[in-house]
Symmetry: C2
Subunit: 464 residues, 2 copies
């Protein structure tokens, strides 16, 4: 039995029927070559292995809430409470898969059981004609159990780097072999009181610094303003989610960044910003002042899971500017400025950054420091990616998308990650406030093409 | 805009993440003969028609909550918020279908939209080898919008009695042609204040009468006791549901009733009681005192939807008795006694009977009349059935099951109805408190066989 930390509590308190506080990872696989005949029931076998496994779930998948005060080991674990196996009716494209994920991501987890769910979805059509059929894994886990970055990493680590390694254990039991990493991500061994003390002591200073940063308006020359406008993104949300996701070639972003002499991350933000501008224009809802994004930044230099260092900054997205180059330059300046970047955070602050990101309104009320202010319009975050191909019992992972949390006042979240040579975008939005948010994906493509054309012109000397 | 009635309010207030207050109807269809080739996409066509229909939803499917005070017409109706189309992976038996329904029945509706959902589930295997493949419609609607009996009837009325009538409108737009019946079920035209006054004025007397009935212990000779024991059914529930459903030949119940000289409804209750007794024995949780069921009784003599008359009574299920005949006789006495039957209720009381059934604890607290008492252990209700075969665009309806509501303190509900020559049982239960509740279906079959054997012996004169 472990005491809930202050942040665990916060995520449970913030949760409501309109505002589930879980994250989700969507993983799309291709059937292995030897499993592509109509008779082969590869997914059925996989599911059978998972459903009939006698190996108990490992930490943290075995933890259940006790009176909203403690985590304890669930002694009544029944796999069918956590597992779903469905198929999509033909013709099932990724679009239909995302509709399924949208509905499932809208749904609250049952607090009487460990707070996670695993879905296996089969019958997704091949990516290319005559290609192998696909299936998907959607894994959903509560933010009080593990944060989004850790969740994506847990699943990734449960996959194999070998196309021939058989994996007969369910995902939730596999983690044991990575116990060290899990411990590093979730400081379970430390004294509960010390953790709570540390966390409470760090939320307020970080929050104050964030407010201080917003209030400070000295450097309008290079970033314009951090005075986030009211927008359609910043209203009360409904309980319904829409998940939109797509992969884009990473090299395309890199090429633009190289030619235009900015960072790839600037190009990513600029593309999001341009798409957002167009999307809001179609809704006739573009604020005259630029949108401000809250951007968590990983400062990790190596690939180890422990010793994470995360910083975050407020980025002026320049959505008021029509010219894509001026917008990109503004974002570049905004991102590069050390002045606007928060100092490196210690361990407890790292754990709390997401609490600050999601609990803005709650903390605002709590501290009374900045009551009427919109701190930022949306969170755009970058989850550490994977460079090597991953396999599940021989099935190649083709794409992975991180679905996130939205809250009242923050109706859209954009999270991206990388896998192999792709950037994997995932947009989580309130489907009532932001209808057809999947249109953002085509708009991202349009913006990227625009920047590619401009950089091509520049490379050929046709443009300054 | 219509003011919410007191009962609408009650159902919204009683709802929590653990306790959704919607009912659901599961309808299983067989593909029509001319749609059974592998190339034919009958269900796909049906779904396309539903998704692309421009006909707006009709009353009450177009009603959305406004500040939890009013119903108003939803001007932003988007069909994809209410509609799901999934398939089940092979081999998909009714068991797998019920797992899907269980998960979906556990899920809260989004209050930002009209409170209903329609699921079309395809890929269910044939009932018999070489038979036609099946598909299902699961329709879920909030009890504040329409009660369970009315919901089942609305869907039934949207189906056709003709195997050749094409039905190109979605279910939720079809109701218009039955507007008269809807009006009769939902008194929308009457003054809101009058309705609220009437309803409030009737809840307390009916409740008092119910309590009075439980308190009264004069007639122990024929029903034993109405002092409902504490049981595993009467604990706090989790958010997870299990729906178990099966059809049984009606004639089997009728034969037993005829030979043993009781009503068919007594046999139905006796079979439930016996199954419950065995189920609780396997959990080592059978109370020494008999379980008491709350049994709503329709007093309608004709088939019209208007002029409903509903009564309800408390039935002693005799679960303490091992002998099935003694149990059946006790139930028969208990059901037959006019003394324990509530008097016919007026219109407002009819609307409120379900409020009383579900809001026992709430009303208990509200009135303070009977604070520590378990009124009854479970609700066993009988939804009016259908005698003629129904079709959906030519597809024959094979079975229909009414999924119900459970609440804290009432972890199981049994609802049955009739269709053609079948009794359609549907059990709704908390899957955490009552694991493997689907075992009840086989136990019902066992109990029915037992009574059949006994009545066969009696018929042959081998038994008194």
């Amino acid at each position: 039995m472990r005491l809930l930390t202050a942040v665990d509590q916060l995520f449970l308190l913030l949760e409501s029927r309109k505002q589930p506080m879980h994250v989700g990872g969507l993983f799309i696989f291709e059937l292995p070559e030897d499993a592509q005949s109509a008779d082969c029931n590869f997914v059925y076998q996989l599911v059978q292995q998972m459903q009939t496994s006698k190996v108990p779930p490992s930490f943290p998948f075995n933890q259940v809430l006790e009176h909203l005060l403690f985590w304890k080991k669930d002694e009544d674990f029944i796999v069918e409470h956590h597992f779903r196996h469905v198929a999509l009716p033909k013709p099932a494209r990724v679009r239909e898969l995302l509709m399924y994920i949208s509905k499932e991501h809208s749904r609250l987890l049952d607090r009487a059981m460990p707070l996670w769910e695993c879905h296996v979805i089969e019958g997704i059509c091949p990516e290319t004609e005559n290609g192998p059929e696909r299936f998907a894994l959607y894994f959903k886990i509560h933010h009080s159990l593990v944060d989004g970055i850790a969740a994506m990493r847990l699943i990734q680590k449960s996959l194999s780097q070998s196309p021939t390694e058989p994996m007969t254990l369910p995902v939730w039991s596999l983690m044991a072999r990575h116990r060290n990493q899990v411990d590093a991500l979730i400081p379970a061994g430390r004294s509960a009181i010390r953790i709570i003390k540390e966390q409470l002591s760090t939320i307020k200073p970080v929050f104050t610094e964030l407010i201080d940063n917003i209030k400070h308006r000295g450097d309008e020359d290079y970033v314009g303003t951090f005075d986030a406008p009211m927008s359609v993104l910043n209203q009360r949300i409904s309980a319904s989610r829409r998940i939109a996701a797509q992969s884009y070639e990473m090299q395309r972003f890199r090429n633009v960044a190289d030619v235009l002499e900015v960072n790839m991350n600037d190009v990513l933000l600029a593309v999001c910003s341009g798409a957002m501008r167009r999307y809001l224009l179609t809704m006739n809802a573009l604020p005259t002042k630029p949108l401000i994004a809250f951007v968590p930044m990983s400062l990790r230099s190596d690939n180890s899971a422990s010793g994470n260092q995360i910083s975050f900054l407020l980025a002026n997205l320049g959505t008021h500017l029509e010219d894509p180059i001026r917008r990109l330059q503004l974002i570049h300046c905004s991102m590069n400025s050390g002045k606007r970047r928060f100092r490196r955070m210690n361990q407890a602050q790292v754990i709390n950054y997401s609490a600050i990101a999601y609990a803005w309104e709650g903390l605002n009320v709590l501290t009374g420091l900045f009551p009427k202010k919109q701190a930022f319009n949306l969170i755009i975050s970058n989850v550490p990616g994977v460079k090597k191909p991953l396999y599940w019992n021989g099935a190649l992972l083709k794409a992975l998308y991180p679905a996130s949390i939205i809250i009242d006042g923050q109706a859209m979240n954009i999270t991206y990650t990388t896998y192999l040579d792709k950037i994997e975008f995932c947009i989580t939005a309130c489907s009532k406030l932001l209808p057809h948010v999947q249109d953002m994906l085509a708009l991202i493509e349009d913006e990227l093409c625009l920047l590619e054309n401009i950089s091509e012109e520049k490379r050929l000397g046709l443009r300054e």
